[in-house]
């Protein structure tokens, strides 16, 4: 059984609530999701990993980009001005924080930045809690992370019961820590309660990438994807998946352009106006998901597009386990 968060954590949340909007795992209709909390009691830190990842906070499932009126006047709705003051994302697992680091590289870094993402991201401070146990679906270490990975976190906490130790990682973290009087524990002093749990063996990501690149045309994808039903569970639950579509809708005199999550597993994702689809079957679509995560993302952003949170493993309706798939490529024969 999971232990409840220590007093150190709840005290900290109370202090955070006095300086910022706090988003934390909360229980809603028997499942845990990230939502705004008003008191430390609401935070469900001990209720297991959140069913939905926190990416909704920086990359909502549906986000209005602009709106206008069909009446030719100014009665159309203005775009959502976005968050005002600082927001704290509290109590994420290091894997979820690491996914935000990836989104930062994709949507918030480099030459092309996404202003909608940045608007939400800039005001967000991420406080993660180091994992003290791993679930049967966890595989963060396989993807280069770990139960105490600091990537993407502004502050990483270690729950020591009556108090918690904090590693303050970024400028934002320093600022927030100053606001609430949180002291930095030198990294060396971070003494996890018990040893860090293993969360799958570290995979040789470079070797995996090499073998995947070699297997693009391989028949194996057909066999792997045989049972895939082509739903979007894996991609919608993924904290790192970031593909979207832009849609225009209109009703009662208001036109709205929105950005919505899209999934490479849907046939319409690549279907062209002519009807031609370059990824005609589940095999090509599933291959895209694996290649994007373990080849293209590494190539472009220097880290895999998978952080090993295990949501897709846990919730795939047909148990199409991405760990099994990547392991098959790393198997002895080199080819699955």
């Amino acid at each position: 059984m999971r232990r409840p968060p220590g007093r150190g954590i709840t005290d900290l949340v109370e202090r955070l609530l006095t300086v910022a909007e706090v988003y934390a795992p909360v229980e809603r209709d028997q499942s845990v999701v990230f939502d705004r909390i008003e008191s430390a009691r609401e935070a469900a830190i001990d209720r297991g990993p959140a069913a939905l990842s926190p990416k909704n906070l920086v990359f909502p499932r549906c986000e209005m980009l602009l709106s206008s009126s069909t009446r030719g006047d100014e009665s159309g709705r203005a775009p959502d001005p976005g968050p005002g003051g600082p927001r704290v994302l509290f109590g994420v697992r290091p894997c979820d924080a690491r996914a935000i680091a990836l989104l930062d590289r994709i949507l918030g870094g480099g030459e092309k930045t996404d202003s909608y993402y940045i608007r939400r991201r800039e005001s967000l401070v991420v406080i993660s809690i180091g994992c003290t146990e791993s679930l049967e679906t966890c595989f963060c270490e396989t993807t280069g992370g770990g139960p105490r990975s600091t990537e993407g976190s502004d502050i990483l906490l270690e729950d020591l019961g009556d108090r918690c130790e904090a590693s303050i990682i970024t400028e934002k973290g320093v600022w927030l820590a100053g606001q609430i009087g949180l002291e930095h524990d030198p990294a060396g002093a971070r003494t996890p309660r018990g040893p860090a749990p293993p969360a799958g063996p570290a995979a040789d990501l470079a070797e995996l990438k090499k073998r995947l690149d070699r297997s693009f045309e391989d028949q194996c994808w057909r066999d792997i994807a045989l049972k895939c039903i082509g739903c979007g569970v894996c991609t919608f639950l993924c904290p790192a998946c970031h593909c979207f579509d832009v849609i225009d809708e209109e009703t009662a005199g208001v036109r709205v352009r929105s950005r919505i999550w899209d999934s490479c597993q849907f046939p319409a994702f690549t279907e062209q106006a002519s009807g031609y689809n370059p990824r005609p079957s589940a095999a090509e679509r599933f291959r895209q998901r694996v290649m994007h995560k373990f080849s293209y993302c590494i190539e472009r952003y220097g880290m895999p597009g998978c952080v090993g949170c295990g949501r897709c493993v846990s919730r795939c309706p047909v148990n199409l386990d991405i760990r099994t798939v990547t392991a098959s490529f790393l198997g002895d024969g080199g080819e699955p």
Binding site: C231, I247, I260, F266
Partner: protein, 329 residues
């Protein structure tokens, strides 16, 4: 018959079918990548039949996987799988003569999410079944749960435990409970309209439009789903709650008289939306108005592809009466 004996028989029969060339493919379940998971598997070689398993986690409806495949196919099917097959045959989606049904009696499937809930999400590293109990290793310690307590919602109200169509019967017939009726539907219907709306909207609010319910459903096979239509666009793809609700309403209507209540959609839903809240209403109405239970009899036509002159009409407006009686609502 013991579960292990069922597995053995399934493997033997599957191997015989493949070796003799009677079928080209066997669709069944294999052990998943972790405890409490069984995954659909496709075996085309007699040597591969050792992969086949049968346990309390074979919840996916395998009828979903037969369409669009060439050759003769054997399918390891529980009762609700065969009910879906019956409907698919009726709708000319499958050909009875091209399939071999290896029918397995079913005592209901276990909801792994419910087990995880009870065990507090402590890592489950092992599961065995004996005498109607699940023997789990959760967080390193043994936990024993009665199967009855963790059955899927759809399985609790299921009264069809044995395959409806079957070529090779495996195991002894399972005892079948009385048809439990539609108590849940009636209780819900007794609530005030406003409360029903609030409850259903709360369910729909959790929907993330991943389409898992639709894609896992054996009866959802439209080449292009209305929800994917852009011209005309019937339901919006954005966050509009009316569109989300409409998607599920129209899906429930499309499944009326066809839904075999296997519960695959509910098990597939990553956010635990109670889809039965709509589908059960349709099942109750179809049974009460037209006396039809989907998937039970290959020779009875689908209720919505036919009519009877005496069909109920008291729901309709007679201006002289001034009002309808609101039948069914």
């Amino acid at each position: 018959m013991e579960a292990s004996a069922i597995v053995r028989t399934v493997r033997e029969r599957a191997a015989e079918l493949l070796a003799s060339g009677r079928v080209d493919l066997v669709i069944g379940f294999e052990q998943g990548s972790m405890p409490m998971r069984a995954a659909p598997c496709f075996v085309s070689d007699a040597d591969g039949t050792d992969r086949l398993v049968w346990n309390s986690f074979c919840g996916v409806n395998l009828a979903r996987f037969l369409r669009g495949r060439h050759g003769r196919i054997a399918v390891v099917a529980k009762a609700c799988d065969t009910r879906a097959l019956v409907e698919l045959i009726k709708e000319n989606q499958l050909c009875r003569t091209d399939m071999v049904v290896i029918g397995v009696p079913c005592a209901g499937m276990v909801d792994s999410a419910a087990v995880e809930e009870i065990t507090g999400h402590a890592g489950i590293t092992g599961v065995e079944e004996a005498d109607g109990r699940l023997l789990l290793t959760a967080g390193g310690s043994p936990v024993s749960l009665p199967r009855e307590d963790v059955l899927c919602r759809s399985c609790r109200r299921c009264s069809t435990r044995n395959p409806v169509i079957c070529d090779i019967a495996v195991g002894e017939r399972a005892p079948e409970p009385e048809i439990p009726g539609f108590l849940d539907v009636d209780q819900f219907a007794a609530l005030p309209s406003e409360e029903r709306r609030t409850r259903i909207e709360a369910e729909m609010k959790r929907c993330i439009r991943c389409n898992a319910c639709r894609n896992v459903c054996p009866m959802c096979y439209c080449v292009r789903c209305f929800a994917d239509d852009a011209f005309p666009q019937w339901v919006g793809r954005g966050g509009d709650p009316g569109s989300v609700m409409s998607f599920h309403l129209v899906r429930a209507l499309h499944l009326a008289g066809r839904c075999v209540e296997c519960g695959a959609c509910e098990r597939a839903c990553p956010t635990g939306v109670d889809l039965g809240i709509l589908n059960r209403r349709m099942s109750a109405d179809v049974y009460r108005h037209f006396g039809y239970r989907p998937g039970m009899a290959p020779e009875i036509p689908s209720p919505l592809s036919t009519f009877s002159p005496g069909d109920p009409e008291d729901f309709m407006l007679e201006p002289d009466r001034g009002r309808s009686c609101g039948c069914g609502g």
